[in-house]
């Protein structure tokens, strides 16, 4: 049963699905548009809630996917649906005839420049969550030099219709709490503020790190979204928000502001969606057959979805989603795909 399966996207979802499908005996081809596998995970330092090294998690994913045919720096050029399979032409010149395609195109981080009032890219001391992770990895950033007061602005590009995203990005609250703790660990004398609208710490152990941030690290949580940021004469930042609990506007001078950029649908994923004429929902993420019962099936037979391509997900959710997608692919390739005679009817009934 050596069916070809093309997996688009070499992030955690793509890697995990590859590993599972390969274990089931399929011939998996994984393509990744960037030169490196791992997606955003490869750029992250530590992960909430237990502060495990991202590298360690990625290492395990890569190990699991050993043996998978993998093309990096590769995108999809064209895709044609044959009778049941897909003929996919890749940018590296190779053409793959694939019986199932799994789109694990992930997400893009919201471009914080678009929140003009926060001055990312304009004020010297404003950075994003991704910048901070890069700092944790490399140990250097021109913006960070013994900051005395550090702010974290939650919901940057999330829950913000004007920024084109009504929904919550799920991971930012926990990431902000994690990063706040890490900054306190790095700079114990610093004062750290988190500006949030709602703290959405829904997962297991998430509330624990919130409590830890308050109790052990004295992180101050202010309920109120950062409204505007300005630069003072000395280069520090003047941050304004409302403390909605106190019901009063608030200002504070900060040495560093970290913007918790949220998740947006991946632009390259959208390009693939366009090639496939696959529908997206209002939020820009791919539509699924059924949000509850069939979250890994696209509306097109043989095209599967996993990970943040179908909306913001935490890493454990993404991996679980990838495993579920692998099961769905297997079910399709064993129950529906081989029956050439009744294929169309089976698709109608079971897709």
């Amino acid at each position: 049963m050596k069916n070809n399966i093309l997996i688009i996207g070499g992030g955690p979802a793509g890697l995990e699905a590859s590993a599972q499908l390969q274990r089931m005996g399929y011939n998996v081809i994984l393509i990744e548009k960037s030169p490196k596998l791992g997606g955003h995970l490869a750029k992250w330092d530590r992960l909430f809630p237990d502060s495990v090294q991202a590298e360690e998690v990625l290492g395990r994913l890569l190990k699991g996917a050993e043996g998978v045919k993998c093309f990096t720096d590769t995108d999809v050029r064209a895709i044609n649906r044959l009778d049941k399979s897909y003929n996919v032409r890749l940018t590296n010149g190779i053409t793959v005839l694939s019986d199932a395609v799994l789109v694990a195109s992930g997400f893009d981080l919201f471009d914080a420049v678009k929140k003009e009032e926060y001055g990312y890219g304009i004020y010297d001391q404003v950075m994003t969550n991704a910048d901070l992770e890069a700092y944790f990895k490399s140990g250097s950033d021109r913006r960070i030099e013994k900051p005395g007061k550090i702010g974290f602005a939650h919901c940057v590009g999330s829950r913000d219709e004007k920024s084109g995203c009504r929904s919550c990005s799920k991971v930012c609250c926990a990431t902000a709490v994690k990063q706040a703790i890490e900054m306190k660990q790095a700079f114990p004398d610093a004062e750290v503020f988190c500006f949030y609208m709602d703290l959405r710490l829904f997962g297991r152990h998430y509330e624990d790190i919130y409590l830890k941030a308050q109790k052990e690290y004295g992180v101050r949580f202010i309920r109120g979204r950062v409204a505007e940021v300005s630069e003072n004469y000395d280069g520090t930042l003047l941050v304004k928000a409302e403390d909605t609990v106190a019901g009063k506007p608030l200002k504070v001078t900060l040495d560093l502001l970290v913007l918790m950029a949220g998740m947006r649908p991946s632009a390259s994923g959208k390009a693939i969606g366009d090639l496939l004429e696959m529908s997206v929902e209002e939020d820009g993420y791919f539509a699924v057959r059924s949000g509850i019962a069939a979250g890994q099936r696209s509306p097109i037979p043989g095209i599967f979805l996993a990970g943040a391509a179908t909306g913001p997900k935490t890493l454990p959710e993404t991996l679980a989603d990838a495993r579920a997608a692998a099961m769905e692919v297997d079910r399709y390739l064993t129950e529906i795909f081989p029956d050439a005679k009744n294929y169309k009817q089976l698709v109608r009934e079971r897709w």
Binding site: V113, I122, E231, Y233, L238
Partner: protein
């Protein structure tokens, strides 16, 4: 401050500004407080740059002050605006340029409302017909007078006799720009440079050799706020707003404030006097204030207009230190002589503000 970051945003917010043929409407406040500014605008555009700027004595207020003070309903104000548009069309113009930011905001608001609710536009059309027997056409381009000066900034620079530079040190003057709230805060796309980092005045200052200063409270209102000023009991509130801006810009030691709104130069100017006289605090050098000028006045200064012809004597904050810095020649004895040499009267000296 990362300049390239701002440039990127500026490039995102560019609007189309036709080169010529405008129907010009004046500002109620500016006509009263800084009449020379509008005269200078017309002189520069018509005589120095040779543009076709038409104005008619039949236009009225846009109704903005009454509207924002909650004294007339929206339909009324829209009908007034429709009448102005009718005058433009009647005179064969498609490009509408207004001197006032309140008007500009209101025109934008009206046009956007009509776009969303065409039935309202139809109703206003009917109102206008019933009341004035006029029919209007919406302007093809609606711009603010500062947009136009922004458009001509390089031509003006080419004709300039001096730059926004301290002639004694050779350093560019530090200029604070203040944009009227209704210029782009309601519709960022309608303003040059958007709402967060408007470029309209920055472009002028840069073209004329000055240096722009970004201070934390730059977005803040000048304190006019319509009702806040008109009712005496609220005036402390208006004053406190302006005070906050001055406190914020003080460390940057600006030489000049440039504005593009009727109320702003007025409040940024007069409240400096009130703050000085009631608290003793001044924000300029050696007990002086910071001159708050209109963009036309600044353009006039670089183009070599006589400061008293530009109406700079009507400012509460003395402009002499600025003129000295810029090397603008002026005759102190003629400061309070009006258009035809008539004595317009000298104000009493201030106790705190020089």
């Amino acid at each position: 401050m990362i300049y390239e970051g701002k440039q990127k945003i500026w490039s995102d917010y560019q609007k189309e500004i036709p080169d010529d043929h405008y129907f010009y409407v004046r500002s109620c406040i500016r006509q009263s407080f800084f009449p020379a500014s509008e005269a200078t605008f017309l002189d520069i555009t018509r005589n120095k740059l040779g543009k076709d700027i038409f104005e008619t004595e039949h236009h009225t207020t846009c109704g903005g002050i009454a509207y924002h003070s909650d004294t007339i309903p929206q339909e009324t104000v829209m009908t007034i605006i429709a009448r102005q548009f009718a005058l433009m069309a009647k005179n064969g113009y498609e490009n509408y340029v207004c001197s006032c930011i309140t008007s500009f905001g209101l025109y934008c608001e009206t046009m956007e409302t009509w776009r969303e609710y065409p039935e309202l536009e139809a109703k206003i059309r009917e109102n206008l017909w019933k009341s004035c027997k006029l029919e209007f056409a919406k302007p093809k381009f609606l711009i603010h007078a500062s947009d136009l000066i922004y458009k001509y900034r390089n031509q003006i620079a080419a004709q300039a006799v001096r730059k926004l530079v301290n002639v004694h040190t050779g350093e560019p003057l530090k200029v604070v720009e203040h944009i009227g709230c209704h210029y782009s805060k309601m519709f960022p796309s309608k303003g040059v440079g958007g709402a967060e980092y408007p470029y309209v005045l920055v472009g002028m200052v840069e073209a004329w050799g000055g240096e722009i200063v970004d201070y934390p409270e730059r977005r803040h209102c000048c304190g006019f706020g319509f009702r806040q000023y008109f009712i005496k009991g609220n005036r402390g509130y208006s004053l406190s707003n302006t005070h906050k801006k001055f406190e914020s810009m003080e460390p940057f030691k600006p030489d000049l404030i440039i504005t593009n709104c009727p109320g702003c130069p007025y409040f940024l100017d007069r409240w400096q006097y009130v703050i000085a006289e009631s608290t003793g605090k001044t924000y300029g050098q050696d007990g002086h204030g910071i001159p708050a000028l209109t963009y036309e006045e600044v353009a006039g200064l670089v183009m070599g207009y006589d400061p008293w012809d530009l109406g700079l004597q009507t400012h509460q904050v003395g402009v002499e230190p600025l003129l000295d810095k810029m090397g603008v020649p002026y005759d102190p004895s003629k400061k309070y002589l009006g258009k035809n040499g008539k004595d317009i009267g000298e104000p009493l000296p201030c106790a705190c503000l020089k």
